[in-house]
């Protein structure tokens, strides 16, 4: 059964069609790639899934529930977490606090419980800190817990975003160019991390320009061009697809 189903999704910006009638199924437990030249509408598809943008037509179904038009926080609570193409961390807050943000939707204590410092609230705080440390350890940033997020290196900031997303205990994690700005060594570690994420039972979806990473990490790939799906299949199939090759050759700044 598919975890996420995108059905005939259409999105216009003004008069411009950014996504046109795109459909695909993401099966549970896989690493799923979304590729395409610049401006193909990949990030827009992500933003539609997570509710950052409202779609004009189509349906998005997650775990059998129609999440079309649902607000982002509810989508996250249902189990879709994401990272951003241009890193968006809470830069003046500590690394630990950044991860706590992800766990936020799994906590319950409100303002009143905090003001009264109820035992339940305190226990929950401890649990949250424990969870955050565990996630930082998972991505290898435990030592940086007390640092401010803005003081991390570029690659570590990407890892921190992943840790923050993981802290929300998602069923599906959406990574928007996770290797952007990473060196080769870091990229290799990232492939390993993605594998470990999947080993936790979390389905991974990613947008990436680094084709070697995509081919290594993904089991299934969808290719978009000009907002339309032009191909899908296993990495081997995609590599051989003439339409894909043409799409990439047509644009001069990407390579396959």
């Amino acid at each position: 059964m598919s975890l996420l189903r995108v059905e005939n999704v259409v999105k216009f910006f003004g008069g411009l069609m950014a996504v046109g009638n795109v459909s695909f199924d993401v099966p549970e437990g896989c690493v799923y790639g979304l590729i395409g030249p610049n401006g193909a509408g990949k990030t827009t598809v992500f933003n539609l899934i997570t509710g950052n943008y409202k779609l004009n037509k189509g349906n998005i179904v997650f775990k059998g529930e129609n999440i079309t038009g649902m607000l982002t926080p509810r989508v996250v609570a249902l189990g879709i977490a994401r990272t951003f193409q241009n890193i968006r961390l809470f830069s003046n807050m500590s690394v630990l606090e950044n991860v706590l943000a992800g766990y936020h939707c799994r906590m319950k204590s409100g303002a009143l419980a905090a003001m009264l410092r109820l035992p339940k609230q305190r226990a929950e705080e401890r649990r949250a800190i424990g969870k955050a440390i565990a996630e930082l350890r998972f991505v290898g940033l435990e030592a940086e817990a007390e640092n401010l997020a803005r003081n991390l290196s570029y690659g570590n900031q990407r890892l921190l975003e992943i840790a923050r997303a993981l802290a929300s205990d998602p069923a599906l994690i959406i990574l928007d160019e996770p290797a952007g700005g990473m060196n080769e060594y870091e990229t290799t570690a990232l492939v390993d991390l993605i594998e470990r994420i999947r080993a936790r039972g979390i389905t991974v979806m990613l947008i990436e320009h680094d084709m070697s990473l995509v081919m290594r990490a993904c089991e299934y790939i969808v290719v978009l061009e000009h907002g339309k799906k032009i191909a899908e299949g296993s990495p081997e199939v995609i590599k051989a697809d003439p339409k894909v090759i043409e799409a990439y050759l047509g644009s001069d700044d990407d390579e396959i």
Binding site: F13, T43, N47, N52, Y53, F84, Q85, N86
Partner: protein, 301 residues
């Protein structure tokens, strides 16, 4: 019906002044994203400087009324523009990289300094412009009286607005200002002297406020040291109503605010006038969150 049109012109007359002050507000905001709460006081300074110059230079005697007023407005614009640049240097420039609200508090401090300085220099009593300088001719349009001064004020606001708009849209310097408004860092990389742009903006904005001050003084006669606060707030409201940072928006917002006020006062209640105006403003912003002509910038995620 006659009542309605008279109130409409009443509203447009007040709105023209709001628009003129709002132009300066919006100009500074456009480039620096700074809410210059001292702008209203620059307007007051303009009014007082105009009075001083008028009394000491005897301008109207030497070059005729129209010419005298023209020179008077130019001189006040120059002086208030320079004060604007000094204000920027002293109170805002050191806060360029700080949180935006810090500059707001600095602006409020500057506003207190300006209004109290005016009070100490000119005394706390209202001051009065000499009368009879301006034409008092009244036109009749379809039998409705329209004093010529109202036409002059509206025309001046309109001319300044169009001039400013063309300057921003069509000249090289204007392009530099627009570039700096969009992204200062990028503008700098493109070789634009952003500091000069900011200085220019801090000259033009306050200069427009100063011009409005002289016009209020000439037209209404009475000026006082606290008037800048009220006018400043109204102009800020007008600028937001039209979409802050947008030059035609300031004009539309100013005129509309004037009309809303006079219509609200005339047909609902004078005592509730300002409350009605704010209520309409809130309704408009609920429907159009970035003002009437403000662009909705979809945030790139």
């Amino acid at each position: 019906m006659e009542q309605f049109f008279t109130q409409l012109t009443n509203g447009l007359a007040v709105g023209g002044i709001y628009a003129l002050i709002a132009l300066g507000y919006t100009m500074v905001y456009g480039v620096l994203k700074l809410i210059n709460f001292a702008h209203g006081d620059l307007f007051t300074i303009g009014a007082y400087l105009g009075l001083t110059l008028l009394a000491s230079l005897g301008l109207t005697g030497n070059v005729g009324t129209a010419g005298g007023i023209f020179f008077l407005v130019l001189m006040v614009m120059g002086l208030v523009g320079v004060i604007g640049i000094l204000l920027d240097r002293a109170a805002y420039k050191p806060l360029r990289t700080s949180p935006r609200l810090s500059a707001v508090v600095s602006a409020l401090g500057a506003s207190i300094v300006f209004s109290n300085t005016i009070m100490l220099v000119y005394g706390p009593s209202p001051r009065v412009y000499p009368q009879g300088l301006l034409p008092t001719h009244v036109f009749y349009v379809f039998g409705l009286p329209v004093p010529i001064m109202r036409i002059i004020i509206l025309a001046t606001s309109l001319v300044l607005m169009i001039g400013l708009y063309l300057f921003i849209q069509k000249t090289r310097t204007g392009t530099a200002i627009r570039a700096a408004a969009i992204d200062q860092g990028a503008a700098r990389l493109m070789g634009i002297n952003v500091d000069r742009v900011i200085m220019l903006v801090f000259f033009i904005g306050p200069a427009l406020g100063g011009a409005a001050g002289v016009m209020v003084g000439l037209h209404y006669g009475q000026i006082n040291f606290t008037m800048g606060w009220i006018y400043g707030l109204k102009a800020f409201t007008a600028a937001i109503l039209g979409g802050i940072g947008n030059i035609p928006g300031a004009m539309v917002g100013g005129l509309l605010l004037g009309v809303i006020e006079s219509m609200g006062a005339a047909y609902i209640s004078n005592a509730w006038k300002d409350a009605i105006a704010f209520f309409v403003l809130i309704l408009i912003l609920i429907i159009r969150p970035t003002g009437l002509l403000g662009e909705r910038v979809a945030e790139k995620i």
